[in-house]
Assembly symmetry: C2
Homo-oligomer: 426 residues x 2
């Protein structure tokens, strides 16, 4: 469950009083597929409607792969890797001791990085999952060529065939055709689900299964969110209204998503894509940014506290239950004067820091805060919160009167690049 | 060398025409220690004035440690780890195959993260460097207790003594006293150098030596920058003026530092602290943000291209020479249509993406761009650019008429937290 807490805003009443009939209208548009971008609403009923047969097959292939490999190379850019990486980090942590390790390639053209990954997998058993609707996108396309070649060189064509999996269009496109030719296993990216809404499809689920994440629990979380959002007075829409008013009525330009857990950093990156790419169009939208506290209190904290005003507001992910907890050891000398903390656990201190910072930023710094209480950091909470944010984002986009499901601006750089690279046809 | 390129701004002339006598006055204040925060200017002459004897001793201890350990735990928060991590990633990459691995603790109160690190070092040989002026800061303080205890439990007091190094005040404070009591080696944080300006002191240099970074080359880079900045018409001041005018005259709120190299991500985090903490005060300053392209073009690219205007400008780090390069493999079938790229290297394609994006963002998206050309990504370039940014930041802060060397806003959350934690005296 997520609880949206606006206690410190100063204009909570206005948000709570927001006309529910407007939200109901927008929700009807969404559910009845009458709004903008209605060709891309497959994600809405997906928590219940996903292909169970394909799901079982994915599990089977993933379980076979897990036995053979140390590393899974995830080839994909934007929505084809951010959700996977967010889940992997949030659920398994940043330094998982168990295999399989996921490494992300295909999201950069940096030769320095690609070379580092090539060296890294030199003496490891690895497999590749390539998530791409078309198979022709430049970044993942050229990376896939490099690592496919490496795998074949190392293990031979027959073994490589069993270690390469494509997540792609059900029938057409270059990657589908290549997979048919080479005998690679394929799973489907549905036609009506865009990249940043695709975590619950094979794009996210298959690599997470290989990583050993409990995807049953993850899907259960998404189903629970689906149910909880049936009431129009839900927390996700309250969040959408709060940020809408802060943006359009009070003229804030930037939303900073804050977590006090290191392993939530990639989650904030997933969130940045979700909201930035959905809303940043027609000269509208909030610039999404993120911080991990308390480390960034010793970096951006000064600006948030005392810098230019009315630029940003903060949305705090307040994780109530940590994955682990531990106590501060006692020291007989107590030279550092920290023995007063030995009766408390790290998590209790972290939660106290959170409270102290909210007070400092809201009351002293005049920075509005929205607090999102997360129960925990497991697969269920991941599934729940991801679906929660997606629904919130869809309504938020409709409030702004834009199409939350396209991304026309991403094409501009590609066209320029293709022209400069002399791509045939450009 | 860094070249500051403003070709795409549309108001380059105004920046180039900025009154040099203003800059000269501000520089005199800085050099003659007559400006705000003049107690913290030890970093200015440091590239030449650093303690050579201490430097040699650090090298000797680092070289001894390198033989015995796989992992160095770097305990520190803010300026006590960001520069080290920025250097380690930029110079050695994100997946270095050679030891020693650096892991950063003491910058979080997350029990989940601390537990992961405890598990991770369970079967590894590790040492600890604790960088803290006082030794009483909460985050590094409680982490140090945990890992000191772990090391003593694993290896016994005698070996632990040789594996714990403190970087702290030269004579006073809890960490200095503890180190004297326990027999830990210590190196000095100079009194007149603040955290975010401390990379060239033992705070940054000692862990980097243990990591195997060529610190001689790094210092050489800082000395070269020191020389190059003697001319008032230097590139670092041009950058300071450009961002000053964009902020105060054209009302941009956010500066996004962009790199096309994954291994520069922590460098952008170091930069965020430098400028955010130096300038974000008295209701002034730019909100520092960062992106790694091309991956974030598939996340924040849409907002930058088509979202709310006049919010942000971009500063692009354009690395001319990669650490490695490689070619796109040819494919006989060419189903993905990418064979047209096989005559080019990854770096050539990455550089072309950079050009295409600048054109898209500036000309189509109306987003001002400042381009900073970096020659390469080695230790020399790190040292050069870090010193370059520090000098730029100092002048930039004086242009805003604030004290760039304090951080009073960081204390507010601490006081609240201490009160809530019932710390004696609060």
């Amino acid at each position: 469950m997520i609880k949206t807490n606006l206690t410190f805003l100063g204009f909570e009443k206005e948000i709570l009083d927001f006309d529910k009939s407007i939200l109901k209208d927008l929700e009807n548009k969404l559910i009845d597929k009458k709004g903008l971008g209605s060709d891309f609403l497959g994600w809405i009923n997906w928590p219940n409607d996903y292909d169970k047969e394909e799901y079982s097959k994915m599990k089977q292939i993933a379980s076979r792969l897990r036995k053979d490999i140390d590393v899974l190379l995830v080839v994909g850019i934007g929505g084809s890797y951010l959700g996977t990486r967010a889940a992997d980090n949030m659920i398994r942590g940043l330094l998982p001791n168990d295999k399989v390790q996921l490494i992300y390639v295909g999201n950069t053209i940096s030769s320095s990085y690609i070379k580092q990954v090539l060296d890294y997998v030199e003496n490891k058993e690895f497999a590749i999952v390539n998530a791409s609707k078309s198979g022709t996108t430049t970044e993942p396309g050229i990376s896939f060529r490099v690592f496919q070649k490496k795998l074949i060189e190392k293990k031979g064509k027959e073994i490589a065939k069993k270690r390469i999996v494509a997540v792609t269009d059900k029938s057409k496109g270059a990657l589908k055709k290549l997979s048919l030719n080479e005998g690679y296993e394929t799973f489907v990216i549905p036609d009506d689900i865009g990249g940043r809404f695709s975590v619950f499809t094979p794009v996210g689920l298959f690599p997470l299964m290989v990583a050993g994440v409990d995807t049953d629990l993850l899907m259960k979380g998404s189903q629970k969110a689906f149910k909880d959002l049936k009431d129009i007075n839900n927390e996700a829409y309250k969040y959408a209204v709060a940020r809408y008013l802060l943006n359009t009525k009070y003229d804030y330009k930037t939303e900073v998503l804050v977590s006090y857990e290191m392993q939530m950093q990639m989650y904030t990156e997933w969130w940045k894509q979700l909201f930035g790419e959905s809303e940043g169009k027609d000269n509208k939208g909030l610039l999404p940014s993120s911080c991990i506290f308390s480390t960034d209190l010793h970096s951006l904290g000064q600006f948030i506290q005392d810098g230019t005003k009315n630029v940003l507001f903060e949305t705090i992910i307040d994780v109530k239950k940590p994955s682990y907890d531990l106590n501060v050891p006692k020291d007989d000398e107590d030279l550092d004067g920290l023995n007063y903390l030995t009766s408390k656990s790290f998590h209790e201190i972290n939660q106290t820091a959170l409270k102290g910072v909210i007070e400092a930023h809201v009351n002293t710094g005049q920075v509005p805060n929205i607090i999102l209480e997360f129960d925990k950091m497991d697969a269920e909470m991941f599934g729940y919160s991801i679906y929660w944010f997606m629904r919130s984002c869809a309504i938020s986009g409709y409030l702004l009167d834009i199409n939350p499901f396209d991304q026309p601006g991403v094409e501009v750089y590609k066209k320029n690049m293709f022209k400069l690279l002399k791509k045939p046809g450009f």
